[in-house]
């Protein structure tokens, strides 16, 4: 008895060791990848608090810190508040309008069962595979020129809305497919019109998908380059990313640590907002976004 029990013990211990070794290996690989994600961002964070001479070298830890760059960029770069405002304004409007369109269309495609529904879905789906954004830029410029919207910050909103419109509608559609028809019908029989049904019954159940659509549209509009760079040439009407992409170091306003400070200011809101919304975001992704 004693011999066999010690044998099983040894066997269990061996197995335990193997499991442990495996777990250590697994976590090391994951952590390696996570570090490759975090290190570039931390490096830029460090760059934004380096002194000017230290910023000319690529080292991680500076010899002298300088925390004044954040104040400097707001004091001395006169165009910065404009660009920041443009970004907030264009992104806000784009997210709002696209989400509104996507919720209505997604809901209608599932629960109002329009006759041409499958056709609309097919067109939206195929637009995802065609390089629309690139090829259409020639005509989008023409349209904006025709409407007098070249060099207009508000004018950017129109093409921005369509950047993610198709995917947003498809995401909302697959989210609304999870809402049972019986629930919608019950509300309808109780005398609620389609607007009330959507607002009271449909929307609360589509919350997770809504978060996904908002985040996806925010990320696209906040970082859009091609349209903004093409449809405007005045620094004052441009959004933040276009200004950042053309900033080139040196010693003046756009010295490296100062660009880095602007960079951190621009990149942080998205990351913070996401961290707070991540539970809903993951749920939404799992529920519907990945099924389209």
């Amino acid at each position: 008895m004693a011999a066999s029990s010690s044998e099983t013990n040894r066997y269990l211990k061996q197995k335990q060791n193997r499991v442990l070794r495996y777990a250590v290996l697994r976590h090391s690989v994951i952590i390696f990848f996570l570090l490759t994600i975090l290190l570039p961002l931390t490096w830029v964070l460090m760059l934004s608090i380096k002194s000017l001479p230290d910023s000319m070298r690529g080292n991680f830890w500076p010899r002298r810190f300088d925390f004044s760059h954040y104040g400097y960029v707001f004091d001395k770069i006169e165009t910065l508040p404009y660009n920041l405002f443009n970004s907030i304004y264009v992104t806000g409007a784009t997210v709002l309008i696209t989400t509104f369109c996507a919720v209505l269309a997604g809901y209608a495609l599932v629960h109002l069962k329009p006759r041409g529904g499958p056709f609309i879905v097919a067109i939206f789906l195929s637009s995802l595979y065609f390089p629309t954004r690139v090829v259409s830029i020639i005509t989008v410029y023409e349209i904006q020129d025709y409407l007098g919207l070249i060099n207009s910050t508000s004018g950017l909103i129109l093409p921005y809305i369509t950047l993610n419109l198709a995917i947003s509608v498809l995401i909302m559609r697959s989210i609304f497919q999870l809402v049972p028809h019986e629930l919608i019908d019950a509300a309808r029989i109780d005398g609620a019109g389609p607007w009330r049904t959507l607002w009271v019954v449909g929307l609360p159940l589509a919350k997770n998908g809504l978060v996904v659509v908002i985040i996806v549209n925010f990320v696209t509009a906040w970082g859009e380059y091609l349209l903004c760079a093409t449809l405007s040439n005045d620094q004052l009407v441009r959004t933040m990313p276009v200004v950042l992409a053309s900033a080139h170091g040196g010693m003046g306003q756009w010295a490296w640590p100062r660009i880095a400070a602007v960079y951190i200011i621009v990149v942080l809101p998205g990351i913070i907002a996401f961290t707070f919304a991540q539970r809903l975001f993951f749920k939404g992704l799992m529920e519907g976004a990945l099924k389209t």
Binding site: R26, L34, N59, P114, L128, F130, P131, V135, Y141, P241
Partner: protein, 303 residues
């Protein structure tokens, strides 16, 4: 009264109101521009002239197809796609399989949140970030290679984005980094849908971890893989923003792909030949679509 619904084209008025905003924007800024580009590609259209554009038939297409730059620039886009596509599938797949086995819920959440950070960094900010990473003088990558490892000196350190053979691989690494988390989450969603007793049963039957992955898990991830390959093929072939930011309009630069060629002809070259540019865009798009159709066909026939 309530039953006397107003209908237009057989559709309830309310249904139209719901669909109209999305359809209007889609028609105005996606459908119409593409149709118009197709039309422009058959004319000598220019923004700047007041003369009405003339129909020129296939002249623009003949010129585009006979321009060696057309094929060279398409080749560059294809080369980039080949560099980018395997990495953006394999690394996230590996990561997803590993993260999926983390049992501690809190640790798993932390992993996922960090994984998704690149996905919430807007595109241009990713490019600005990596412009720093690859910077010849102040970039941390060259700092590591020169000062810490001492494999290079600042005289012969690699010019990552400087138009050398390293440029497209460097851009590909950046893009793989960008998609790492997002694609992992795709695969994690697929893994979550696999019933846990399936791999367990295979293990009880004596399958090792590799066999479990290859015979049990991989076939069930096939649909997600298919969508990712086709979608990312499309984005990789049509990359433009990062090429404009990194390379500009130097025709010898490896980032001068068909998209940049089109943009150059439409907006930068003094001639402003939008008709010719449109035909370049259409040739590129058609070549892409042929490959997309082929990819969809390959994946379909396996089922």
């Amino acid at each position: 009264m309530a039953s006397a619904k107003k209908t237009i084209l057989g559709l309830d008025l309310n249904t139209w109101v719901f669909l109209l905003p999305a359809l209007l924007f889609f028609a105005g800024y996606q459908l119409f521009p593409i149709v118009r580009v197709v039309w422009i590609s058959f004319t000598d259209f220019k923004y700047l002239t007041n003369d009405p554009p003339n129909w020129v038939g296939f002249a623009n297409y003949i010129e585009a197809v006979n321009d060696p730059l057309m094929w060279k620039s398409l080749g560059r886009a294809a080369y980039f796609t080949v560099l980018f596509l395997p990495g953006t599938i394999i690394f996230p797949l590996l990561l997803a399989v590993l993260v999926d086995r983390v049992r501690n819920a809190k640790v798993a959440t932390v992993y996922r949140v960090i994984l998704l950070i690149p996905a919430v960094i807007p595109s241009t900010l990713v490019f600005v970030l990596w412009k720093w990473m690859y910077n010849y003088q102040i970039g941390p990558i060259n700092y590591f290679l020169v000062e810490i490892m001492e494999w290079f000196t600042y005289r012969n350190a690699p010019q990552w984005l400087g138009g050398t053979d390293l440029t497209l691989p460097s851009v590909a690494i950046m893009e793989i980094w960008w998609g790492l988390g997002y694609h992992s989450i795709f695969f994690l969603a697929g893994l979550a849908a696999i019933p846990k007793d399936l791999p367990e049963a295979a293990r009880v039957d004596g399958a090792n971890e590799w066999q479990v992955f290859w015979y049990v898990i991989r076939p069930r991830l096939q649909p997600i893989m298919m969508i990712l390959v086709v979608l990312r093929f499309g984005t990789a072939m049509a990359v433009i923003d990062e090429y404009l930011i990194f390379g500009g309009f130097n025709r010898a630069h490896p980032t001068y792909t068909w998209t940049v060629f089109m943009y150059d002809q439409a907006f930068k070259t003094g001639l402003w030949r939008q008709g010719f540019a449109a035909s370049i865009g259409m040739v590129g798009a058609v070549v892409m679509m042929i490959f997309v159709a082929y990819l969809v066909y390959i994946f379909r026939s396996k089922d």
